[in-house]
């Protein structure tokens, strides 16, 4: 890491952002501990999903035992779509973890930026069915407030009284990472001291999953669903759709220091780009993805050789994994330790970039890289050091988290030790 002006004794600069809180709700479990232990365990959460009956790929990764009434109360259970419910539970955990008391913070200086690809998909489908069966006069007055994607940031603000900038980012499967990068920009620009940032998705509905299946994007390994999500494996045949939420408390370093709160890690870089190539296929040469990785490194003042670990986008689709591997190898070389936590969690679309940012933060914090589940026989075209079978204990000073969205939108985050 190059010497730069403005560094203090811990190596942090005023451009760096402290990650002081994290919260997760994933198919590996509710809460950061359950989710982290789940990805370290390397056992896939994928299973046949009765809600998706009739779809050729009826496999999904759902959050286990998520009871909104118990976790959030009856009113939230009734009036909020699941993508908001998942995020509220993650937000609560992240705020407690960051030791923040919303009664005491400077509300206009607290922002909320959350990524979401789909919004309230289940609400859309339920109310559409209702309209077709009973007519437009029976459509719920809660339809719009429940389904609009921006409502998740609005609800987090209402719950905690955060009155700073408030928005939702939509870059498909990169939405969560884009949100974290955008939040970082709000802090660097001096607009916010704290931003609650991350992503959420709960789109495991018949219509949306049927759409992904018709694209040929999903694994059809229905005879062995637990082996369906297998990033970088030679037998991979598509991704497994998932639901999840992940939120981080990003904080101006000086602000965190003044509060005396510890940081899990520092967010030191963000790079974003567009492929400008195709609606769903990645640029085969990975130009856009490579541009985003380079941008994140430049932004952080890092050299390629500084990177110890990459939490890959690694969806388990034939195209993504080989294209991403080539790009990572071209820029970072073949010694960096790569993993895809999607082997365990499946692909949670707009939440993926956020939950993987949290896993990256934890890898940096604990010097521990989770394995890629189901990696039995690495594709010979994937010429990378992919962590398989069991977690790897190794020094992780700097790590990247890659996220690439349909539409060619790429977002890369760089994380370093606190």
């Amino acid at each position: 890491m190059g010497e730069r002006s403005g560094m203090n004794s811990s190596g942090a600069t005023e451009r760096d952002i402290a990650v002081t809180g994290i919260g997760l709700v994933t198919p590996a479990g509710i809460g950061t501990d359950a989710s982290w232990q789940g990805v370290l365990g390397g056992v896939s959460a994928a299973a046949i999903d009765p809600h998706l009956e009739g779809i050729k790929s009826d496999i999904s990764c759902r959050v286990p035992d998520f009871d909104a009434t118990t976790l959030l109360g009856r009113k939230a259970a009734r009036r909020l779509d699941r993508f908001v419910q998942l995020a509220l539970v993650a937000a609560r955990e992240a705020l407690v973890d960051a030791q923040l008391d919303p009664q005491e913070w400077d509300a206009p200086r607290v922002g909320v930026v959350i990524g979401c690809g789909m919004g309230g998909a289940q609400t859309w489908e339920d109310q559409h069915t209702r309209m077709l069966e009973h007519g437009p006069a029976k459509v719920s007055a809660m339809l719009i407030p429940m389904l609009v994607p921006n409502m998740v940031a609005g609800q987090v603000a209402m719950e905690y009284g955060a009155t700073g900038p408030n928005l939702v980012t939509a870059t498909a499967c990169a939405s969560g990472a884009t949100a974290i990068g955008t939040a970082r920009d709000l802090i660097r620009a001096g607009t916010c001291d704290i931003v609650i940032a991350g992503g959420t998705e709960a789109g495991l509905t018949p219509l949306s999953v049927a759409g992904f299946a018709q694209m040929g994007a999903l694994s059809e390994r229905t005879d062995d669903p637990a082996a369906a999500s297998r990033p970088f494996d030679v037998e991979r045949d598509g991704f497994v759709p998932a639901e999840a939420a992940g939120l981080l408390i990003l904080e101006r370093t000086a602000h965190a220091r003044a509060r005396g709160v510890r940081s899990h890690a520092r967010l030191v870089g963000y790079g974003a780009s567009a492929d400008a190539y195709h609606v769903t296929a990645p640029d085969p040469e990975g130009k856009g993805a490579g541009q985003a990785i380079r941008a994140a490194l430049d932004d952080a003042g890092l050299d390629a050789g500084d990177v110890d670990h990459v939490n890959a986008h690694g969806t388990s689709t034939p195209l993504n994994d080989v294209s991403e591997a080539r790009t990572v190898r071209r820029i970072l070389g073949d010694e960096v330790a790569v993993t895809s936590t999607k082997g365990v969690t499946g692909h949670s679309l707009g939440a993926a970039g956020a939950i993987e940012a949290v896993f990256t933060v934890l890898a940096v914090r604990h010097d521990l890289i989770p394995p890629t589940a189901n990696l039995d026989s690495q594709d010979p075209e994937i010429e990378l050091d992919v962590v398989a079978k069991s977690p790897r204990e190794t020094t992780v000073d700097v790590a990247l988290s890659n996220s690439f969205g349909f539409g060619g939108q790429n977002a890369v985050l760089a994380v370093a030790k606190a």
Partner: protein, 81 residues
């Protein structure tokens, strides 16, 4: 079953209101129900009691007692009640 019983059933089953909170003098505000909930309540009442409450009437609803009176004036009946 009376119209009041039916209103209580709707509030408990569809709106998640605690049974002991439902009292004739309770207002929708007391039950933490807002204007969007009132539109939903009007839809549920139409389904269960066969009478229509207009949006304007829904906005004016105050206590459960008033609500039951309005429903009864409109000819609401409950099977077996």
């Amino acid at each position: 079953m009376t119209v009041y019983d039916k209103v209580k059933e709707i509030l408990v089953e569809k709106f998640g209101v605690e049974e002991d909170e439902v009292k004739p003098e309770a207002t929708f505000e007391d039950l933490d129900l807002d204007s969007l909930d009132l539109v939903e309540f009007a839809l549920a009442a139409e389904e269960e009691l066969g009478v229509r409450i207009s949006d304007e009437e829904a906005e004016e609803l105050d206590t459960l007692d008033d609500t039951v009176k309005l429903l009864e004036e409109k000819g609401a009946t409950v099977e077996g009640g």
